[in-house]
Symmetry: D2
């Protein structure tokens, strides 16, 4: 049983904590939190030991009646690996300021820059490159979503060139201060966006150009893909390939699943914890091949799709499992992923 800690029990951190807890080869030793909010309270109620990253705030936890086990530094000493889920930019500072000094292996999230971590990770793209490594960054929710479907398509028939337009949710559901309320925002307004190069940190040779924007919704990102193929296949070949690919779901608009909102409702019907959809949802009706180019639309649950990838990264970096497909299968089975 490997000992794992979560630094930053927020949107991603709390999900990774639960996912690790569902495994039989690793366990959560503790999680860190800065503020005595409802997430801190429910973390303790769920049985996680809570460590505080700002020790001077201990009294505020006491006042709130939330039990603190120790400081973040005390937690780090007990770990085989830490999963850093702190806000964008903090992770890289923690790497240099803390983890490297402690000799502690660490996984970072997609908000950190590839160059500052040195290695990026996606279970289907480059699992083996992470085996035994000290630091890795699980690529962002959008990049993970692109890899999940582009990898199997590349395996099936080769990819000449990808064009993708990524319609991103403006904020997560509980980020009530973020907009836009009523606007479409090119983000970035320059083309190409950084998402293409980010895919290339894990799918090294892929030719991909991306454009990105923000829209007033909180549920999921939506991607529009145009993929020039190297060899000739049929739409049915693609469907079959995606159907057999784990962490990808083909969903039918005509069965009532015609929007990101209905995908989220479907996750409720599947009985998923926190209403998460760890899989990438591909609209089956959107799959089409015109003049050797594959078109499709997919939806990405930004809060959860990277969670199983974090579990796999732990296995690779701690050398628990060398075979990516075995780790993926084990993670999926434990989390109920299709």
């Amino acid at each position: 049983m490997k000992s794992v800690g979560i630094n930053g029990y927020g949107t991603i951190g709390k999900r990774v904590a639960d996912a690790v807890s569902a495994q039989d080869d690793m366990k959560i030793v503790g999680v860190t939190k800065r503020s005595p909010d409802y997430e801190a309270r429910t973390a303790v109620e769920k049985g996680y030991d809570l460590y505080i990253s700002a020790p001077e705030r201990e009294s505020s936890f006491e006042e709130a009646g939330i039990k603190v086990t120790g400081t973040a530094d005390e937690l780090f000493e007990k770990l085989d690996i830490v999963v850093d889920c702190t806000p964008e930019g903090i992770g890289a500072k923690n790497k240099e300021g803390t983890y490297e000094k402690l000799g502690l292996k660490a996984i970072f999230q997609g908000g950190e820059k590839h160059d500052q971590i040195g290695l990026s990770f996606n279970s289907f793209s480059n699992y083996k490159d992470a085996i035994g490594k000290d630091y890795a960054r699980v690529v962002s929710c959008n990049t993970t979503g692109l890899c999940r479907t582009l990898n199997p398509i590349n395996d099936l028939c080769g990819i000449k060139k990808v064009r993708a337009v990524m319609v991103r949710r403006g904020a997560d559901p509980s980020q009530v201060k973020k907009g836009p309320i009523n606007a479409i925002v090119p983000n970035p307004p320059t083309v190409p966006s950084h998402h293409g190069p980010d895919v290339q940190t894990v799918m090294y040779d892929l030719n991909i150009t991306t454009m990105a924007l923000l829209v007033p919704t909180t549920l999921m990102h939506q991607h529009n893909l145009m993929v020039e193929l190297e060899s000739s296949v049929s739409v049915d070949d693609i469907k079959e390939k995606l159907n057999e690919t784990p962490r990808v779901l083909l969903l039918k608009a005509k069965e009532g699943l015609g929007s990101t909102a209905e995908f989220m409702e479907y996750a409720k019907e599947l009985g998923r914890s926190r209403n998460d959809l760890f899989e990438i949802g591909v609209w089956e009706e959107s799959l089409n091949i015109v003049d050797g180019e594959l078109y499709y639309m997919q939806a990405i649950h930004q809060e959860s799709d990277v969670v199983p990838e974090n579990v796999d990264a732990i296995r690779a970096m701690l050398e628990i499992e060398d075979d990516p497909s075995k780790s993926i299968e084990k993670t999926n089975k434990s989390m109920g992923i299709l």
Copy 2:
């Protein structure tokens, strides 16, 4: 074990089905559906026998590979009671056209008119009036929310007059065709709204006037209450009373629960099925008494707050339990309600 059927496995119906299944004194015999959509498919996957309300559509279910057990009429013959969760206005037609002819007891939802059903129901307001009755209507999500907090306040210190402004969500999360996208809509534009009289169908003597509007959100309704009290109490007395009232939660904005979105996030942390918040959430900071008048704000999860009330109504109408508090406690325990 009493035999219960759900007519209309949609937003409310599927939740009532799961709630009934969690009881040890009643069971789901089957659920009905009109279209072979993802809700029908997942109903069967979860183990519910599916009956179709439009027999001529059987072939469409077959084509979709969704197993049909029989017709709605066949289901009705097997039941002690049916919970009708069909769209607004259909329930009353079913009562006259079907249930009365079959001599089948039936529970209806708040979309039906009180006069057409004859008896309205809320677990805390008039449970005993429903004992042994053939037909009852569980009042709407908004009315249920008002009763949940006004009943204990009335018990504690008497209510002279209630004024309430109800800021309603424009559509449920998966109703993607409904707006508004960017507007505030007085609904109705006339004052008072129908919600006051609807409360009076279960709290018979309450003096209440309401105003209602729609806003562009899908998560929860929000209520603003101004309650003139009969006898003098302190804010702490009110807090204590609400704290001990089941199906009501006092939540703190300062703990990060400052909006309906964060209430929904809290339900995720509680591990609730479908991310439901069966309880009415009252903002603790909003509770204040000025000049003998109590002010507070509360949030109502329109998709789920009436679900435990449906279970209680079954117990009352089938004479399984005569004591409201025992039914409420039993329902709560089985559903994990606080």
Copy 3:
């Protein structure tokens, strides 16, 4: 002075009425309306003669104190041409049932099907094909937006292939019943969408494939374009070409115009009637050429971009002006279009 009537004084109709009124070679003889609403009232207050399309409703206009000049049929007799701005699908019925019988020339909007009208129109693409014709359909706001920028690019350097992803507003600002409130909706969920073929009704030989979706905003559509070019040009060549193209504006995100909301705010600063932006706004920062492919993002004000095109179509069909650039210039000058 040619006599023009508007059948359907709604979102498009009222704007075309004002645009025609601003010309010196045509005038509005009257406008039609079905209901005595605020648009009918303000039409009369602005000086338009109001004709009613449902004569049986005359009393309802009387009760509302809105002066009616006559019936739609009486209006049609006074016209050289009618601009039909009725809801989608009604126009084609009016053509067959009314205008053809009267021998009345008519312009239709993009909601009608090309095949039912026979000729589609865009000022920059095929003005000359409409000269003297009896019926023409001004292509939809989205198609007009695509033509506005693709035409000059095609003129400059030739286009091999266009891929476009169109992020559409869910509803117009005043359509408060339409959603989605919080979802991204592939619309249609099949690829390619109908927009590509619609462009081809006016740019006959263009190779174009489109994907389309709906998002929860009311202000503008946003388009993401990927254009493979025939001959080599620089980004500056493209900017210069678009800059000199009428009805196209290059706007800078860095000057505070980073979203559709800010484009609309810019229209306010320009002093535009009804806050309209008749021009297509292209984000200057988004213009880039990678591997011979031009990328850019643009925004389309769905309520108004087709309005000057309607004026030009009147000139072509009534043979007032044979030279497209002269009509465009005249329309622009009178309407203050840049």
Copy 4:
């Protein structure tokens, strides 16, 4: 002709500039701006002399090709009065740090605190108290909206007590970074909100308690009012009184004006600059009296309702006009206000 300057040419500042320019007894000498954005550019294009508040940034204006006339300090020397429209909190600093030292009269906006300015202002409530004064604060859009309808009602029949629930827009249309996207946010979560006391800074003896929240819309605030009356009147008396009150409009939901979005559309039909609705719109259908208590709903255009009040405040403070009704009438006539 009195000389007026605008410090802060943003949402409010640019509107006040245009309103002052429409008067014959005052003129705009110049406006200030910090950044060379589209508002700066269009200010110059409209003929306003532009002064920069951060002189070190002059080169950035030069690079953008936007003509700068001088620094803010140079502008202040030329003025009889400055209208400070800087962001919340900056105005009070400007008062102490700049205007008092220069002996320059100044008007502030509702974001400043009453205590720091000393006098608050509403044209209908306390115009005379501002005559000849050096500093005054035009109360916020919400408070202005409350005063506009409560003043005439108080005049007609006396007010015992007001309860108001204020459903506020989350952000202005062009504030694309502000949320919420999908939530209702009690703001503040404590009751009563600060709006009641703010009304009392201009309606000194009014008994009023308020609750406030934010919702995901950009167009207008919406208010729900419950007003206990001192003497008995009919609903028709109230309608007649509001009808004859300037800067208040009774609008009918049944004429298609059933939401804030449709009120904004109505402003477009009125041909208003920037689509502004300077008047408070009251839903006629909502007016009702039950048990001596008046209920109604109104909508407030947060970007513009305080603009005519700023013009009136200039007249009072510079002693151009001592009679409030004459200033109001003059302002209204020049701005086309009903």
